[in-house]
């Protein structure tokens, strides 16, 4: 899964802070322009480093908070096959979190520091995970729509200028694409099922459609970091371009499922060859971003509870490691 609105937080980055040599900065930009990968030990502008730390850690946080809404259905998955697939999927999300925290660590922060920012509410994660999973169909809708939107966002990041992030994304994208197909398959089974199952699928689409298209973040005019991130090749397409691509791909899939996109104004535009939808209610997006979504408190509380309840376990592991090391030294 992925985090939207990565570029709506924090301060506007500056290309080169005072004291950074202009020659370094020029050489850095020419390497980026030549599509060379920037590696952890290479010189980089501080603002580039900070932008990446913020973006990669938000992405990592989104993966691990994203384990919660789907994990909510593991014990209730309606068949053993679905249960196994869902466990594997949620486990993949945790794995994505791990690669991403590792990629962020190459920039000089620790996972514990980043975790602390998540638990204290300083760091953001994708708002989409602040919505509840009320029925089994929500698990299908998340795979189909949320992972589908994630793929649109993430494929370009496989070519991001920062090497460790780009490489992590290659693997993540392969797994996301599998998740998206699984989600679509759940929706297809429901859509071809009993009237109650079809209703369940339609209601899930109603719940997840607008939050999914908001995942791409504010419209280009409102998004303050897009231009600099594009120059640095951290970002390659604008929010609106990616959102349009997602809508164009997804609407025919909904038609195939026999489901209705909950947007009365949605139409095919012959001139532009795009589906054009009605206006997005950004007040909802902003409310969720500010912490007033349906599950913001629950998600953060679940992460804090797990972290607190696990403290004695982590302390035990450290204590045992120290004792073992001392015994080895003593024996030597």
């Amino acid at each position: 899964m992925y985090t939207q609105a990565l570029d709506t937080h924090g301060k506007e980055p500056v290309a080169a802070a005072a004291g950074e040599s202009a020659a370094h900065a020029l050489r850095f930009q020419s390497r980026v322009d030549a599509d060379e990968k920037i590696e952890p030990k290479d010189w980089m502008p501080d603002a580039y480093r900070q932008t990446l730390i913020r973006q990669i850690s938000q992405h990592a946080h989104s993966e691990i908070v994203g384990m919660l809404p789907e994990g909510n259905w593991i014990t209730r998955a309606p068949s053993l096959r679905r249960k196994a697939v869902l466990i594997a999927k949620v486990q993949d999300e945790g794995g994505h979190g791990m690669y991403l925290y590792s990629a962020a660590e190459t920039l000089g922060v620790t996972r514990d520091q980043l975790f602390e920012q998540l638990l204290s509410g300083v760091a953001k994660y994708s708002s989409i995970f602040n919505y509840p999973t009320l029925t089994w169909a929500d698990v299908g809708a998340i795979g189909w729509l949320v992972d589908g939107a994630a793929i649109m966002n993430q494929i370009p990041i496989c070519r991001c200028s920062y090497g460790p992030y780009a490489r992590a994304m290659v693997r993540i994208c392969k797994e996301e694409s599998f998740h998206q197909r699984q989600g679509f398959e759940i929706m297809l089974t429901l859509a071809q099922g009993t009237p109650a199952q079809r209703l369940m699928a339609q209601e899930a689409l109603n719940r997840w459609w607008w939050p999914s298209i908001m995942m791409f973040g504010p419209s280009d005019g409102e998004s303050k970091h897009t231009a600099q991130s594009m120059r640095w090749k951290i970002k390659r397409f604008s929010n609106d371009e990616l959102r349009q691509k997602f809508i164009d791909v997804t609407v025919p899939q909904a038609h195939f499922l026999g489901l209705t996109i909950p947007d009365a104004q949605l139409r095919w535009d012959e001139a532009t060859q795009h589906y054009i939808g009605g206006p997005i209610d950004w007040s909802e997006f902003n409310a969720v971003l500010k912490g007033n979504g349906p599950c913001n408190r629950e998600r953060l509380q679940a992460r804090r509870t797990a972290w607190e309840a696990g403290r004695w376990v982590r302390e035990a592991a450290s204590a045992h490691a120290a004792k073992s090391a001392a015994r080895t030294t003593q024996a030597a």
Partner: protein, 264 residues
């Protein structure tokens, strides 16, 4: 039908019924334990442990699927893995009662896992030699997974036992609380005896000796005390469960029960 043929047919039927019961015990134990571990996903003490517990859950659900599918074939009433998992009530489940015990804290989950991993290790190792080739194949696959599970759970038992004063106290309490459920693991009944004499399943007394040696070795490394053997009056493998299983099943079976006949 001659009396001799009729006797043989009866014996076959009895053996088949015992085999069905035996395979359900194995499958239900994996299923219920996997279901319990599934409750952890997203809530573990570290990200690594989240992935580890999910891995265990996934393997156990995988084992349950193979075993329940086989049970359905032995039974011959066209019940597949899902019919067996989702449409039986607690008295028709034959898992070991230990598997259904609540997760408790991480230490409690680890102790439950360690006790059952060491049990599965011996049972699957024995079943690899089974005269029943299907069971032997399932066991060979499951044994590889179980070796990893046991490494995970015994590793954590040692870390927690030999960690801090708090972790030592917590994990010793879990051992003390769960130990009574181990009396069921190796107490043979007529099903176990029939399986052992047909060469289908390993003898429980041999398995117990090896299991017990693992217990002593791990407890020593973890600086924990082995509780005295305690007789325990309930027997999950005969369908006599603790109060917990009903809730596990209510949650697991909710969709299948609410929407009868739907395909998922």
């Amino acid at each position: 039908m001659s009396p001799a043929v009729a006797t043989a047919a009866r014996a076959d039927r009895a053996l088949n019924e015992a085999l069905l019961r035996y395979v359900l015990r194995l499958g239900d134990t994996s299923l219920v334990l996997g279901q319990r571990l599934g409750e952890w996903v997203g809530h573990a003490p570290t990200l690594e442990e989240d992935l580890g517990l999910a891995n265990l859950a996934l393997d156990l659900i995988g084992q349950a699927r193979l075993l329940l599918t086989y049970a359905g074939e032995i039974e011959g009433r066209e019940r597949d893995e899902d019919a067996l998992a989702y449409l039986r009530d607690a008295p028709e489940f034959f898992n070991l009662a230990l598997a259904e015990q609540p997760n408790g804290d991480f230490g409690c989950t680890i102790v439950r896992q360690w006790l059952l991993d060491a049990w599965q290790l011996e049972i699957y190792a024995g079943l690899q030699e089974s005269t029943d080739s299907r069971l032997a194949a399932i066991a060979a696959k499951a044994l590889k997974e179980t070796r990893y599970h046991y490494r995970f759970s015994s590793g954590w038992l040692v870390r927690l036992g030999d960690g801090t004063a708090e972790s030592h106290e917590r994990v010793q309490r879990a051992v003390d609380q769960l130990w009574r459920f181990t009396s069921e693991l190796f107490a043979p009944d007529e099903v176990d005896e029939r399986m052992a004499s047909a060469g289908i399943a390993p003898s429980l007394s041999t398995a117990e000796v090896r299991w017990s040696a693992h217990m002593d070795e791990d407890l020593r490394a973890a600086t924990l005390k082995r509780p005295a053997a305690q007789p325990y009056p309930w027997h999950g493998k005969r369908g006599v469960h603790t109060e917990h299983l009903g809730y596990v099943l209510a949650e697991m079976q909710h969709l299948q029960r609410t929407y009868p006949g739907a395909r998922w």
